[in-house]
Symmetry: C2
Subunit: 158 residues, 2 copies
């Protein structure tokens, strides 16, 4: 897979799970979609992967995080409560609501420079957040938003 | 379609849109699924219908409201802001987040006796709520929860 925005040295040093989320985002971009990716991790293993499918499926609910949750399938509440969700971009209110519904206790966020999601609501509900503000994630979204502002606004309800 | 839980006189006097949401819920129940339905209404017309698909599609994100939004397709922000969402049951945090993401200003809720969703969060964000506490909706959910407590708990992350 082409990874044109990546500093390769940085990429290979990166957390494996955030790397997998970025790979999902790039899959989406290569399909002509919005480059946001996510993985759901349980006890050190990826159990769901996903990326935004607005363009590809005409979907208004398949944000990256939602797609990863959907692809993980039906899980018990006990399993969700041992999971960490990785996402390349700060989670919007919808994805935040899904995280709260299922009681996912930890979220690792690639960046919140290009879009600030509902992080306050997550924190208020005791979700542990790690914001990496990773340059690859920021660069990927900045380029996308510059080129496709209308599509981006549609995805965030603006 | 069989409507065994309905008081027919009440049903025919009911708001057409809540009636359509109940019809969706009953479709779901007839498919062996969780009986929660929803319709998205724009300028007096239903533009999206849906029901919970956890059982039918193994979906963890297709709650009734999410399915209605998905089936309405990609809409402009201006259109969402003229919509009303009807749902047979108080919206969970995920569906609440979707309502907030797209700026839907009004939600009509069939009932919140069997499950209280994130109504406080909706109100705090100036979403206008009408809670009907309709007996048909309450009865439909009560019977379902009594018969399928494990499935119900799974759907609300418990």
């Amino acid at each position: 897979m082409a990874l044109p925005f990546l500093n390769y040295q940085q990429y290979h040093l990166m957390d494996n799970f955030m790397r997998a989320a970025i790979e999902e985002a790039l899959k989406g971009r290569n399909e002509g979609g919005i480059p946001i990716g996510s993985v759901l991790v349980h006890k050190g293993e990826i159990i769901g992967r996903g990326h935004n499918r607005r363009v590809q499926k005409g979907s208004v609910i398949l944000h990256g995080e939602m797609d990863a949750l959907e692809n993980a399938g039906r899980l018990t509440a006990a399993t969700y409560r041992e999971c960490t969700l990785y996402t390349t971009l700060s989670p919007c209110p919808m994805c935040t609501g899904a995280i709260l519904l299922y009681g996912i206790p930890r979220v690792v966020i690639g960046e919140n420079h290009t879009f600030m999601g509902a992080e306050d609501l997550l924190r208020a509900n005791n979700v542990e957040l790690t914001v990496e503000n990773d340059e690859t994630c920021i660069d990927m979204m900045q380029r996308f938003i510059e080129r496709h502002p209308t599509l981006w606004n549609e995805d965030i309800g603006e």
